[in-house]
C-alpha cells in the first residue's frame, strides 16, 4: 500500500516536472533567469531526495520525534488482512459506476466547457501552431477588453492538452479529467486508509467521488480538479508526515503543494498550509508548556527539525510563487495584481467600520455554499480522537487548521475582491469549485469522527434519548 502511495504521488510530481521542463524548453529567455535556474535545480534535488529517502526508509531521528510519542504511532492495515466483504464489493462497484459515468459524459458530450474553450484548450491550439506563452498577448492586440487574458492562469492544463494532441490519441481530450478523478479516488483511499480503516476509507472515497461539486469538476475542462488533486495529495502527505515522521512524505507533500501554484495561481492555499504547519508545531509546544518553562532551550531544540522543515516548505512555495510571477511580469511583460492584496482586507474592516458589509458577505457564503459550508464548519468541531478521549492527533489538528484558514482566506478574498455585492453572485459556482479540495479533507475529518463515534457503542442509547428529548419538547 505504501509503495502504491509513493508511486502515485511521485507520478504526479513527475508529470508536473515534465510539463515544467517543456515550458523551460519553450521559453528560452526565461530559462536564463536566476529564478528559473534556482527553481529547477531545487526541484530536481528534492525529487532525488524523495526517491533516496523512500529507498532508505528515512525517518526523523528518535530525539526529534514528538514527546507524546505513543499517540502518533502509525498502524498500517492492508487489504489482505480481511477478505472482501459484500459491503466492500458494493462500495467499489458504486465508485466505479460514478467514474464510468464521468467517462461516459466526457466521451459523448458535444462541446468543451466555457473556460476550456476560451483559455485552456485554446492555448494548447496556439502551442501547436508554434506560439510561446510569452507571445500570446499579441493575439489580443486588436481587442482592448481582453488584454492579458491568456496569461491569467498558469499553463499546466494547457500543456497537458497539448501533450494529448501531440500523442494523436483519437479520443476527446476531456478524458484527462476522468483520469484525474480516478487518481483522486485512489489517492484519497490510500492516504486515509490507515487512519480510518478499509471499510470507512472506501465509504469516504465513494462519498467524495459521488459529491456533486467534485463530479462536476470531473466533467468540465477547467483547473479545479487537478488543483484539488495536487492539494489533497500534498496536504494529506504532510498530515501523514506529522504522524509517521517519514521524510519522503514531507518532501513529496511540499512539492505537490508548491507545484499546485502552477495550476491555479491566485489562491494562496500554500500560505495557509504553511501557517497551519507552524501553528500545529506551536500547539505541540503549548501542550508541553511545563517542560517548555523548565527547560526552554532543550524543548525548542527538540522541535528544531520541524521548524527547519517548515522553513523549507515556505521557501519552496515562495520560489514557485516568484517563478510564475517573474515570468508574467518580466518575460511576458504583463501587469497583474498581487494576490497578496486581499490579506490586507481585515485592516479595511477595522479602518472603515464596514461591519454591515461583513454580515452580507457571511450571508452570501451561507446561501451559496449551503450544505458544503455546513460540513466544512462541522469538520472543524469534529472530535477526532483515535486513542483515548482527550488527545487530538497532530495531523488532525493540522488538517483542521488548513480548513479553517482556507475558509478565512475565501472570506477575505471575497471581501477584498469587490465591494459591489451584486458581483458576488457570479462567483457563486466557481467559489465552491475552487474550494473543492476542502471537500475530501473535511469529509475525512467527519468520517474519522463518525468512526470513533460508532466505536464508543453509546450511540444507540444516545439516539434514543435524543428522540425522547425532542418529543418532550
Amino acid at each position: 500500500m505504501n509503495k502504491l502511495t509513493f508511486l502515485l504521488s511521485i507520478f504526479l510530481v513527475l508529470l508536473m516536472l515534465i510539463e515544467k521542463l517543456y515550458f523551460l524548453h519553450l521559453e528560452y529567455s526565461f530559462s536564463y533567469s536566476l529564478v528559473a535556474k534556482l527553481e529547477y535545480v531545487s526541484l530536481i534535488i528534492i525529487v532525488l531526495l524523495i526517491c533516496l529517502s523512500w529507498w532508505k526508509k528515512l525517518v526523523l531521528p528518535k530525539d526529534n520525534r514528538p514527546i507524546t510519542n505513543s499517540l502518533f504511532t502509525s498502524r498500517t492495515i492492508s487489504l489482505h488482512q480481511n477478505k472482501f466483504s459484500a459491503v466492500r464489493v458494493i462500495l467499489i462497484a458504486l465508485i466505479t459506476i460514478v467514474i464510468a459515468l464521468s467517462i461516459f459524459i466526457n466521451l459523448t458530450k458535444k462541446s468543451l466547457d466555457g473556460d476550456g474553450v476560451t483559455m485552456y484548450d485554446a492555448r494548447a491550439k496556439f502551442l501547436q501552431a508554434g506560439y510561446q506563452f510569452s507571445n500570446m498577448n499579441d493575439l489580443t492586440y486588436y481587442n482592448i477588453q481582453d488584454k492579458n487574458y491568456y496569461l491569467l492562469y498558469p499553463p499546466y492544463t494547457s500543456i497537458a492538452h497539448y501533450f494529448w494532441y501531440q500523442a494523436n490519441i483519437p479520443l476527446p481530450v476531456s478524458l484527462i479529467y476522468s483520469g484525474y478523478l480516478i487518481l483522486l479516488a485512489i489517492g484519497v483511499f490510500l492516504l486515509t486508509q490507515d487512519f480510518i480503516g478499509t471499510d470507512w476509507g472506501l465509504f469516504l472515497t465513494f462519498s467524495i467521488v459521488f459529491n456533486a461539486t467534485v463530479f462536476l469538476t470531473a466533467v468540465s475542462e477547467q483547473t479545479y480538479l487537478p488543483y484539488s488533486l495536487y492539494l489533497v495529495y500534498g496536504i494529506l502527505l504532510l498530515a501523514r508526515f506529522l504522524r509517521d515522521n517519514l521524510v519522503w512524505e514531507f518532501f513529496c507533500g511540499v512539492l505537490l503543494l508548491a507545484l499546485s501554484q502552477w495550476i491555479r495561481f491566485e489562491e494562496l492555499v500554500w500560505l495557509g498550509v504553511t501557517i497551519a504547519y507552524f501553528l500545529t508545531i506551536a500547539a505541540e509546544l503549548i501542550k508541553n508548556l511545563k517542560r517548555f518553562f523548565t527547560k526552554p532551550i532543550k524543548t525548542l531544540l527538540h522541535y528544531k527539525i520541524y521548524f527547519i522543515y517548515g522553513l523549507m516548505l515556505m521557501a519552496v512555495s515562495l520560489l514557485e510563487y516568484s517563478s510564475w510571477r517573474y515570468f508574467v511580469h518580466n518575460i511576458a511583460s504583463t501587469l497583474s495584481q498581487s494576490s497578496f492584496n486581499y490579506l490586507y482586507a481585515p485592516l479595511n474592516i477595522i479602518k472603515d467600520n464596514e461591519l454591515q458589509h461583513v454580515i452580507n458577505l457571511i450571508k452570501f457564503l451561507i446561501f451559496s455554499w449551503g450544505v458544503s459550508l455546513f460540513i466544512f464548519i462541522a469538520s472543524l468541531f469534529a472530535t477526532t480522537n483515535t486513542q483515548g478521549r482527550h488527545a487530538v492527533t497532530r495531523s488532525m489538528l493540522f488538517i483542521k487548521l488548513v480548513i479553517g484558514l482556507s475558509l478565512l482566506m475565501y472570506c477575505m478574498g471575497l471581501y477584498g475582491a469587490s465591494f459591489a455585492g451584486n458581483w458576488w453572485e457570479e462567483l457563486n459556482v466557481s467559489l465552491l469549485r475552487s474550494a473543492s479540495y476542502l471537500i475530501p479533507l473535511s469529509y475525512f475529518l467527519v468520517f474519522t469522527s463518525l468512526k470513533t463515534f460508532c466505536q464508543t457503542h453509546h450511540w444507540k442509547t444516545f439516539v434514543k434519548t435524543a428522540i425522547k428529548i425532542i418529543i418532550t419538547i
Binding site: 460514478v98 459515468l101 459524459i105 458530450k109 458535444k110 462541446s111 474553450v117 476560451t118 483559455m119 484548450d121 485554446a122 491550439k125 496556439f126 501552431a129 493575439l139 489580443t140 486588436y142 481587442n143 482592448i144 477588453q145 481582453d146 487574458y149 462519498s207 459521488f210 459529491n211 456533486a212 463530479f215 462536476l216 466533467v219 450544505v371 458544503s372 455546513f374 460540513i375 462541522a378 469538520s379 468541531f381 469534529a382 472530535t383 478521549r389 482527550h390 467527519v446 469522527s449 463518525l450 470513533t452 463515534f453 464508543t456 453509546h458 450511540w459 444507540k460 442509547t461 444516545f462 439516539v463 434514543k464 434519548t465 435524543a466 428522540i467 425522547k468 428529548i469 418529543i471 418532550t472
Partner: protein
C-alpha cells in the same frame, strides 16, 4: 437491567394514531383539489397516461430516491423484534411513501410538459408545494421509522434522566457533533443523485452547438482564408457569442480578429488593407450589423463612426448571413 431492554417495556399504544397522521399528511394535497371542485367543475382532466413513460427518461433521480428510501428502510430500520402490528404499519408507511413519491414525480412531469402553472389552473394542485413536500417526506419517513423502532411515546422517565447525568460532557459533545454531521451528510447525499442525473440534460441543452450564433462562426471558418483579418461585432448585448473574441478565436485561430470598436479609434488603412466580416441580423434585437451605405461607400462597424472603403465583395451568401471581403 440493561438500558436497551428498558425500552422494550414501552409499547406503541398510539400506533394507529401515527398511521392516521401519516395518511392525513399524505393526502393533504387533495384539499387543494377539493377547493377547486367547490368553486368550479374541472373541465380539463386530460388523459395523463400518455406521459407516464417519459418520466423514466426525464427525471430518473426522483424514481431512484424512493427506492433508496425503501432499501435503507428495509435494511436498517426494520423492527425485527417488534410486534407484528408494528411491522405491518411499517410496511404500509413505506409503500405509501413510495407511491406518493412516484405520483408526485408523475404530476411534476405533466407540469413540465405543458405550460407553467398548468396543474394549478386545471386541478388546483400547487406543484411547488408538492415538490417541497416530496423532499420533506424523506425526513419525515426516517423520523417515523425511528419512532416505531424506539417506541418512545412516553415522556422521559427518571431512569433516563439518571443516565443523562452519568454521561460525561466530552462524550456528550462528541455525540452532538456526530448527530449534526450525520444529518449534514444525509442532506448532502440526498441532493447528489438529482445533481448528477440533471447535469447531463442541462449540459447538453446549454452547450448544444455553442448556441445559435455558432452558425456564423462555422460560415466564417469555411469561407474565409487562413492568415487573414476578420472583423467582429463590437462587444455588445446583441451578439453574445460572435462578439466574444476569446471563443471565436478558438475556431478561427490563425486568422487575426479585430473588434468593431477598434476600427473607430485607429486609421485602418495603414494597418491592414483587406478584411472579412459576416453580415447578419442579431437574434436578440433583429438589428443588422454592420450598417452598409453602398452609395457613399461608407460602412459603420460600431453603429456610429463611418469608415470609407474602396471595394466590397460578397464571398458567400448563406441566406440569413452574407460574408463580405472589404478593401479599405
Amino acid at each position: 437491567m440493561p438500558f436497551a431492554r428498558l425500552y422494550d417495556r414501552y409499547h406503541v399504544y398510539y400506533r394507529y394514531l401515527v398511521l392516521a397522521a401519516w395518511f392525513f399528511y399524505l393526502f393533504s394535497p387533495l384539499f387543494f383539489v377539493l377547493r377547486i371542485f367547490i368553486h368550479s367543475y374541472p373541465e380539463n382532466f386530460l388523459p395523463f397516461y400518455k406521459e407516464i413513460f417519459s418520466i423514466v427518461t426525464n427525471n430518473p433521480s426522483y424514481i431512484a430516491l424512493p427506492f433508496i428510501i425503501l432499501f435503507i428502510g428495509m435494511i436498517y430500520f426494520y423492527p425485527k423484534h417488534g410486534a407484528n402490528k408494528d411491522k405491518i404499519i411499517f410496511k404500509i408507511i413505506l409503500l405509501s411513501a413510495l407511491i406518493s413519491q412516484l405520483s408526485i414525480t408523475y404530476l411534476e412531469n405533466i407540469e413540465l410538459s405543458h405550460y407553467p402553472n398548468y396543474l394549478f389552473s386545471t386541478t388546483g394542485l400547487p406543484i411547488d408545494i408538492l415538490i417541497t413536500k416530496n423532499k420533506l417526506d424523506v425526513y419525515l419517513i426516517i423520523f417515523i421509522f425511528l419512532l416505531i423502532k424506539t417506541r418512545q411515546f412516553k415522556h422521559l422517565s427518571s431512569r433516563t434522566k439518571k443516565y443523562l447525568v452519568q454521561i460525561n460532557w466530552l462524550n456528550y459533545s462528541q455525540i452532538v457533533t456526530a448527530i449534526i454531521i450525520i444529518s449534514g451528510l444525509a442532506l448532502h447525499l440526498i441532493t447528489i443523485p438529482k445533481e448528477i442525473f440533471y447535469f447531463r440534460q442541462d449540459y447538453n441543452y446549454k452547450n448544444r452547438n455553442y448556441g445559435s450564433e455558432y452558425f456564423y462562426i462555422q460560415a466564417l471558418v469555411n469561407s474565409v482564408p487562413k492568415y487573414s483579418n476578420v472583423i467582429l461585432p463590437p462587444k455588445v448585448y446583441d451578439w453574445p457569442l460572435l462578439s466574444n473574441h476569446l471563443v471565436v478565436r478558438y475556431f478561427l485561430f490563425p486568422r487575426t480578429l479585430i473588434s468593431g470598436n477598434y476600427l473607430k479609434l485607429n486609421i485602418t488603412r495603414k494597418q491592414f488593407n483587406t478584411a472579412y466580416f459576416v453580415e447578419s441580423n442579431s437574434f436578440r434585437t433583429q438589428q443588422p450589423w454592420p450598417k452598409i451605405n453602398n452609395q457613399d461607400k461608407v460602412i459603420f462597424f460600431d453603429y456610429k463612426d463611418p469608415i470609407s472603403y474602396q471595394q466590397l465583395d460578397t464571398i458567400a451568401d448563406l441566406g440569413t448571413a452574407k460574408i463580405y471581403k472589404i478593401i479599405f
